[in-house]
């Protein structure tokens, strides 16, 4: 298993944060999955060794938690919220539009490894459904029409710079820039 120096340093810094080593398992899995895309048997053995556990103690986590993977998702992973509040705003049609545009079925990775789509259970943004996540960015109110546009922008590499689709996360950053702009207020003392 080839892990970057950076990830190994992060892992070593993480373990002492917990009163018991085993607690670090999930966070280590996240770090390795972020780099390698999935946790295979070799990775399980490596983590187990690191935490003085048996590989099964790691494997049982990988096979339980929905977001942990034995095989990687596509280069761009699209998560569509399936649960009732989003469904009541049309998330099934959203998912179908994305499937059609990106050429891959929900739960699968496209043959060339570019895209994968996953129906998720409640993403906790129910007031702005249908909710779609592209990797770590959350897009709100993505009805089927908008889903087609979003997929087109994604395919042409223009989604991140799009003014029409500003993610929940990026909207927060914009708020911060406002704060920075208005910062030179005389400090009250």
């Amino acid at each position: 298993m080839n892990l970057s120096e950076e990830t190994i340093l992060k892992i070593d810094a993480l373990i002492p944060k917990y009163p018991e080593k085993r607690s670090a398992a999930l966070m280590i899995i996240h770090l390795i999955q972020d780099e390698l895309g999935a946790i295979d048997l070799e990775a399980c053995e490596w983590i187990a060794d690191k935490l003085e556990l048996q590989p099964i103690n790691i494997q049982e986590l990988i096979t339980f938690y929905p977001m942990l993977r034995e095989k990687p998702w596509g280069k761009k992973h699209i998560r569509v919220c399936r649960t009732l509040p989003c469904a009541l705003r049309g998330s099934y049609a959203t998912c179908q539009a994305l499937e059609k545009k990106l050429g891959v079925k929900e739960g699968h990775v496209r043959d060339d490894g570019e895209y994968s789509i996953e129906f998720m259970e409640c993403l906790a943004d129910c007031g702005e459904g249908p909710v779609v996540m592209v990797d770590e960015e959350t897009y709100e109110n993505v009805d089927s029409g908008k889903a087609e546009e979003l997929a087109d922008l994604l395919k042409s590499g223009k989604l991140e710079k799009s003014k029409k689709f500003v993610s929940y996360e990026n909207a927060l950053v914009q708020d911060t820039s406002l704060e920075v702009a208005s910062k030179p207020k005389p400090s009250k003392k």
């Binding site: 009163p19 942990l68 409640c122 770590e136």
Partner: protein, 451 residues
Amino acid sequence: MSNKSTPTERRIILKNADDPNYSNKIGCYLREGGYSMLKKSCKMKPEDIGAEVLKSGVRGRGGAGFPAGMKWKFLDRKSGKPIYLICNADESEPGTFKDRQIIHKDPHQLIEGMMIAAYAIQAKQAFIYIRAEFFEGARILESAIAEAKAKGFCGDKILGSDFSCDLVVHRGAGAYICGEETGLIESLEGKRPNPRIKPPYFPAVLGLYQCPTIVNNVETLCNVKHIMEIGGDEFAKIGKPNNTGTRIWCVSGQVKKPGYYEFECGALTLGEMIYDVCGGLLPGRSLQAVIPGGSSSKILRADERFSGKLKDGTEFDWGVEDIPLDFDGPMAAGTMSGSGGIIVMDDTVDMVEAMANINAFYAHESCGQCTPCREGSLWMRKITQRMCDGGAREEDADLLLSVANQIEGRTICAFGEAAAWPTQSFIAKFRDRFEEKVKNPERKKSSLQLI
């Protein structure tokens, strides 16, 4: 219908969250007087803080509505073992999106509330267990904690006192069951999140690493800060007796203006929320059903009526729209306010499909530890899925009910109830739709696909 004017929001927890000039950075928080309650609290006796929280009457905002001060009182302080504080930021009850706002927009409020709580229970180590889908949320919390540490609000010798408490952000990995506090603890121990049997031992006695542990919801911990600001007695005057403070209601589904709204407990009715605050239903639609407290709570049918006597002796006779939005109102109507997630369904909704959608959720999320829940949730999903695929049978309503009845009360944790209550209430209130599905299996053109 009363003729009083539309109730206005009272934002305490979300006071700054949506101010465009406010950010999640510590400078902003300090400008608004942030961390002054931690300073005040650190000079008090820890037990006095607990007494204020108890006096405030604040009830847990995660779903069960158990008084937070009481939970703290159960803490085993005599064992000599380390005490842990955990913030449950696993927000995953369908229909709930309040903690997301706090975490992303005002993380320091949570950190201050947590540090006051940690001091009050004398925890040396605190964790924020955050759902993994909040990628940015976890990063925001990490950097907010670093900011707070640099200023001495967190970590070693907080504000120069003898009290130290480290705060660590721990990410889950997409499992709903981690919102159940003992499942969360197992998960934080690095294991599968199978909930623990309780009673007799609750986390306050045997929690993380078998040590005394307090698990509180994000919104509950934020409230601790405000309780210290105005005092427990004053806080108890917000809202109404036994339903104190504000609540952040999350409205989703088919209303014109879904969103999160913070009101004093009991300041408005469900009808005022739907029609006045959320702008009513979509044009040409009428109300069919409401799920008032996240998908686990029992569904309400628009034309239902509820009557009886409240705890304080007053008699009530309510339609769905008259139910007061607090803890006790929905309870009196046979359901619960849960996590505050109000899901509104209009007359276009195919109720069998809605049921199938909910059942798919619980089947996916059952941890599999208890047979009735693991098998039952799957059966319920399969039956409702088959009904929606054109294979509905006359006996299905009774079959669903019998499966649900055999889950309820037969599981280690409350997930069993959470999975059974939707089915029980859908069948009790919409049995006609399940029977109609046998005769007319096709989805109506006006209905959205829900499964």
